[in-house]
């Protein structure tokens, strides 16, 4: 199996001088600073020679003290090996610009757009450098740079125009009115690009076509995002996706909160999967701190994360059912009622139903309550029989098969190329699960299978989710048997200030691969937290997937992805 050292030496021998700086953290993590001129060649080499076929994302970092910016490309492989290569490309802070990877990796598109709009790093060769998460008038303020003072910039008054309303309130106006432009109050010129609406209206070719909004407020969307479909009759000819309606700037907020306070923000990214978000953040910080988590705490974490996976899959599947059967469909209510039992189990441990803030650096907040194992052993067999019933129900329903079979097929190669993650990826037959690929906690000691589908259509995606619940139940049962007595927190005192360092930590979220890239500059706050959300990765595949399907199928496909725009937007 290839390890990080092999990868590094392969790059060094193929491109002498391309690696400016490198660090092999472990067998599975490689950190390397790559010459910005050679990054395209290095990536091509990694993909073609070393099986790095998974472009996992990119992060932008503003190193204001060093007067430079950094783009970190995160590369991994779909099962060929377990190395994650973190390739850093440096650029000057005055005129930041790096080469775009969109030519090599289809899914680099959104990651680079986000870095551009947040940090102002230009990507040479990017085909559509338009704002993604931010609204149009915010482009040019580069909010994630370290010298950003808030919007409107009230410290200098450079861009904002203060206006007193007739009611006596003070308002700061941006974008400016023509009169304000004439007065010269607006200094910064914004880049020119077509707006979202202009981009979609360009595509209308005949009178028979129209654009129909499915969102941002629509019965179909699980959270606010805009899915516009260009329809000709009942057929979708093209789909347009606009996200950012629930952008909360969590990554930036976490830079302004202490390490411990950051945990609460990870809850709010996606409240149906808050435990794995907690785990991801705490795991990354533990890695920088070098903390060992006591065995009992590890088991508690695994139990809760798997419980959280079950409830997330239940609500995801249930919501999907309402999309193709209407809210009167009884099994959807059964799923919600069953989910309640799981939620109660988690609540009995964490004290909260959705936003738990339970995981701590080097342990968990509190121990399992008395009688938790007995309660679990009562609920789990019931859950198992119910899940099997659901699987059987959908297997036998002819209308379900008529509606869902062959709808929204993703082929395995496309799924890999487009960076799909989680159940949608596994439904295509690619057994890619972080619990096996990048094992954390006690997962290596547990016996479980990675559930995969065969066809990669909507029915498969639901089937994979339901069978994954069975696996989760199996995992929890093992944990309950194996869990040892002992401390639930590490003995080491966790310092307020985390030493200088960086870590990339991946967990298997209910929706797929969730990664967090955390940088510490030695202060009591994180220097940068980059969240690589699983649904953000799956989200952009909707656009090509919806071309040529019926409206009803478009809704079903979008629903079968188990979307969480809140986590995608962060």
């Amino acid at each position: 199996m290839t390890n990080a050292n092999d990868v590094l030496s392969s790059i060094q021998s193929a491109f002498p001088g391309a690696v400016l700086d490198s660090k092999v953290e472990s067998e599975r993590r490689l950190w390397a600073t790559i010459d910005s001129k050679k990054i395209l060649d290095v990536c091509k080499h990694l993909t073609s020679k070393l099986n790095f076929d998974h472009y996992s994302g990119a992060a932008g970092v503003d190193w204001i003290a060093r007067k430079e910016m950094e783009v970190v490309e995160i590369m991994a492989s779909h099962g060929a090996h377990q190395v994650v290569a973190m390739l850093k490309v440096k650029t000057s802070r005055e005129n930041p610009s790096v080469k775009s990877l969109t030519g090599l990796y289809w899914n680099a598109n959104w990651y680079e757009r986000e870095i551009w709009e947040m940090l102002g790093i230009n990507f040479e060769g990017h085909p559509e450098l338009y704002p993604l998460l931010l609204s149009d008038e915010l482009v040019g303020v580069w909010p994630w740079r370290k010298d950003y003072k808030g919007y409107p910039d009230l410290t200098t008054g450079e861009r904002a125009v203060q206006i007193t309303t007739p009611e006596g309130y003070t308002e700061y106006h941006i974008p400016p009115t023509p009169a304000e432009v004439e007065a010269g109050t607006v200094v910064v010129e914004r880049p020119k690009y077509p707006s979202f609406r202009e981009r979609e209206e360009r595509e209308i070719k005949s009178d028979a076509e129209m654009i129909m909004h499915l969102g941002p407020q629509h019965a179909m969307v699980p959270g606010p995002f805009l899915l516009d479909v260009l329809v000709e009759g009942e057929r979708v000819r093209k789909a347009f996706l606009d996200v950012g309606y629930i952008h909360k700037g969590i990554e930036k907020i976490m830079e302004n909160r202490t390490w411990l306070q950051g945990i609460t923000y990870t809850d709010r990214m996606c409240y149906v999967a808050s435990l794995s978000n907690n785990e991801c953040y705490c795991g990354a910080v533990e890695k920088i701190l070098g903390l060992e988590v006591p065995l009992r705490a590890q088991y508690i974490r695994v139990i809760l994360e798997e419980l959280s996976r079950i409830q997330s899959h239940l609500i995801g599947t249930g919501e999907f059912l309402t999309l193709i059967a209407g809210v009167g469909y009884a099994p959807w209510q059964y799923m919600i009622i069953d989910r309640e039992q799981i939620i109660s189990l988690i609540e009995s441990v964490t004290g909260a139903r959705l936003t738990h803030t339970f995981v701590r650096f080097g342990g968990v907040r509190n121990d399992l309550p008395e009688g938790f194992a007995d309660k679990c052993r009562k609920v789990l067999p019931y859950m198992k029989s119910r899940t099997e019933e659901f699987i059987e129900l959908f297997e036998q329903d002819p209308i379900y098969h008529k509606r869902m079979d062959g709808v929204g097929i993703i082929r395995p190669d496309d799924a890999k190329r487009m960076g799909v993650s989680g159940p949608p990826l596994r439904a295509t037959g690619v057994a890619y699960d972080m619990r096996k690929e990048d094992p954390i906690l006690v997962y290596p000691e547990l016996d479980f299978k990675v559930t995969t589908g065969t066809k990669g259509d909507s029915a498969d995606r639901i089937d994979v989710r339901l069978r994954e619940m069975l696996e989760s139940i199996h995992i929890i049962e093992q944990c309950l048997d194996k869990i040892p007595e002992g401390p639930i927190k590490t003995d080491v005192k966790v310092p307020k200030k985390v030493p200088v360092g960086e870590a990339y930590y991946r967990v298997e979220d209910p929706r797929g691969e969730m990664g967090m890239y955390v940088i510490s500059d030695g202060g009591d706050k994180p220097y940068r937290v980059k969240v690589r959300g699983p649904f953000y990765a799956t989200f952009q595949t909707l656009t090509p997937l919806l071309e040529g399907v019926y409206i009803a199928d478009a809704v079903a496909i979008a629903g079968s992805m188990d979307g969480c725009p809140s986590e995608a937007d962060r």
Partner: protein, 349 residues
Amino acid sequence: MDLIQSITDFAVQEPAIFALIIGVVGAAVIAAVVNVGAMLVIWGERKVLSDFCNRFGPNRVGGRWGILQLGADAIKLFTKEDIIPGDADKGVYVWAPIVASIATMLVAAAIPFGALHIGGKDVPLVVANMDISAFYVEAALSLMAIAVFMAGYSSNNKYSVLGAFRGIARMIAYEVPMGVCVISVAVMAHSLNLVEIVQSQTLWYAFAQPLGFAIFVIALITDLGRIPFDQSEAEEEIISGYNTEYSGIRWGLLYFQEYNNALLGSILLSLLFLGGWQGPIIPIPILDIVSPLIWLFMKVVIVLWCLIWVRASLFRLRIDQVTDLGWKWMLPLSILNLGWAVLVGSYFA
């Protein structure tokens, strides 16, 4: 006695005016019965559906059964602001709910709501007992399609117009097999009169022509726009379909007509295929008079319950699959059933 005597005298002297008065009174009674019935259907659906879903349903207004919920809803709908979109075709938009109401009332006029067992004979309760009532009812049912299209098209809304087109495509595809099924029944009964069709059912037509029964049930669900055939208002796809822009009592009227139709459709199904009000006479005084009514009521309740059951357990079909099923399967099969009806009917005649 004097009153009855004078009425009879009047009826003999002025038969035309008397018929008119009877018609007007009958219409008022029918309108009241149908609308109250529809309210009960709505309440029943909410209660039964929530039972299927393991929830409570309405349980606050009017005691633990939530029986006054509909009154509260009606008050809310009546007092809501009436919003007409600026770009709507105002005339058509305003008239669409009214046309829908008229359509259901036209159906109700010709449907026998049961019978009274008086002096060893069943006296049917029907306002307009016409010779071709089965045919007429079938025709009047499809008027609803026009109202749906008016509502959807005049709203000037993309969701509405898609819903309207879906509605029309669906109705056309299923009205034809439904009509053929009615004809098959008429062939067996040797009459197009609903009363005579009921009286001719010594063996229920559901057993005499099971294929026709199945097709009629499916076509009826389609006609009523219920799951799995509610594409014209699939809320997860096109918000609310043809009535997206409607609000207040105009929306209420459109919504109400769906349940009116559900009630009338269930009665029609019971009359055509389930033997109508026929059944053993209950040998208890007074109850024996209304026993045909009780039988019909029970059949209608069971049919409605099954419609709700279907809603709780089936997925919605896609519109192309719906029309596909209608034209490629239902129509040929209904014609096959017609052939069967002609064969069997002429053999037993």
